[in-house]
Amino acid sequence: MVQTKTQFGYRRHPDQDRAGAAAAEHPVVVVGAGPVGLSLAIDLAQRGQSVVLLDDADRIGEGSRAICFSKRSLEFWDRLGVGQRMVDKGVVWSVGKIFHGASQLYQFNLLPEEGHKRPAFINLQQFYAEAYLVDRVQELSGIDLRWRNKVTGLEQRNDHVLLTIETPDGPYRLHAGFVVACDGARSSLRQMVGAEFAGQVFEDQFLIADVKMTAAFPTERWFWFDPPFHAGRSALLHKQPDDIWRIDLQLHPDADPVVEKRPENVRPRIARMLGHDKFDFEWISLYKFQCRRMEKFLHGRVIFAGDAAHQVSPFGARGANSGLEDAENIAWKLDRVLRGSSPEALLESYHTERSAAADENIRESTRSTDFMAPVSQQEARLRKAVLSLAKETEFGKRMVNGGRLSVPSTYDTPLSTADRDAWRGGPRPGASMPDAPIAAASGQSMFLTEAFVGKGAQFTLLEFGNGAAIDAPEGVETIRIGGDDGLADTRGLAGARYDAEPGTAYLLRPDGYVAARFRHPTRPALDAALARAAGLNRGLS
């Protein structure tokens, strides 16, 4: 943690000198400077919004916490200008191995095809991710990041939210057009709007340790059921930067957290796992978890994102990654609403899309957790059968659930225009854009996601060349592949991944999801699809 700044100072803001009735007005206030709040603030600022970002602390938390960042998150961070730094520091991996006892059951590769700018995952301590995002925030004039500003009161008014904020200099008030609550699992804003946060509590406890050592393990995700060093439970090993290894051990439900957390009790377990004692602890933590979500992610002018809105079990890397997907989903919609280009009703699609994604993440991670910690004798018996069948059958291997890793959801959303043409493949409306290698006009290799970033992550028409360029609606950027003036699909992979024929066009949303696709788009069809995706014609179907 030497080269990153993790301690920040409180600074008094002129807003605090105003009398109560003259509270400063801001179009959008983001609460919580974790990965989700920071990323959201950057996205909004890059779209031209002025953002106030409040955090009740003045330092970045310790420990690796959310270590696995997905390809989708990296592609989002590329748009925010921090992707490369994350990847340069992070540990790239795509292979996972599952062990039962001392023997390997099977291995999987999360990104078996080449030609993607970003890997399936990187491992990076959350504090690095946050520090890089804070650095990026400080490069942008549009973000006013205020440390040690704790929201203690919230009143919803017709056209704004009145926030009361506690600081070392005492309280002050702000008018916010919209508030986005990214204040984590114990969200105080969630309590202030009186929202329930119901779900399933898991009794098993997990111990996480960040261990410093040099080791020759490959950079893969290793998961054990019933390992020899930790009988009857499960264990997970991940490599991180700086020779730090992340170890998650499942404890017995009745284990005493205080006793378990003592280094002298953790050390022998890890020594048994590693086969040696030459390591130091960087961080030890214990956790229990719940799988739950808010019923509604929108409460008037207060919008909930990340752990504040939904919590999952940690197996599957679905916590921080789904929070980042929330951020990229709400950013462009809020930007359009604040500009008056789309009605406020567009924000409802945030709830529709991201609450369905939260349900999917909860379902997947609950299944993983139940597999790791069977709740009845018969469940344990079924798991035992799967693990033993996995040794000799392919179907058994695929039923072993040691965590299903985060992939972006495909949205069933009113913003999509249903397919009318025939498709044999490619991303359907509501799916995120797959990457592909292409060549710039100069002949230089690049990626499709880079072309999208280059166009400013706006509504973008991805065209596969066929004579004259399509007359795109106003405000829609174009990426043209093939044809005389276009980017070249030198390896044919872009065409293959998009099931393209000459004339094919995809309308991409500003978050890189497919809004509509056409074999031969007409201007009226594009206009209609754009209007639908921007929430402008909700009456039509």
Partner: protein
């Protein structure tokens, strides 16, 4: 596909007997282990989640019927 409940074996007694014999000599715990594995193997062979759900519903109706009978006897 829907669940087939017509008789599919030429000799149903052979099928029943094969399952019975698989359990012969096993303790209850071992039998339960065997059943768990057998259910998974057969479910995968069916390979159709709708059919599996129908099969589960049909099998589960026995539990319901049994508990209703028990209640009626108690009344």
């Amino acid at each position: 596909m829907t669940l087939s409940t017509s008789s599919n074996f030429v000799k149903p007694d052979d099928a029943f007997r094969a399952i019975v014999e698989a359990h012969r000599g096993l303790s209850d715990a071992q039998s339960a282990d065997l059943d768990a594995a057998l259910v998974l193997v057969l479910a995968n062979h069916i390979g159709d989640i709708a059919v599996l759900n129908e099969a589960i519903a049909l099998a589960k109706r026995r539990m319901l019927d049994a508990s209703q009978q028990q209640q009626q006897q108690q009344q």
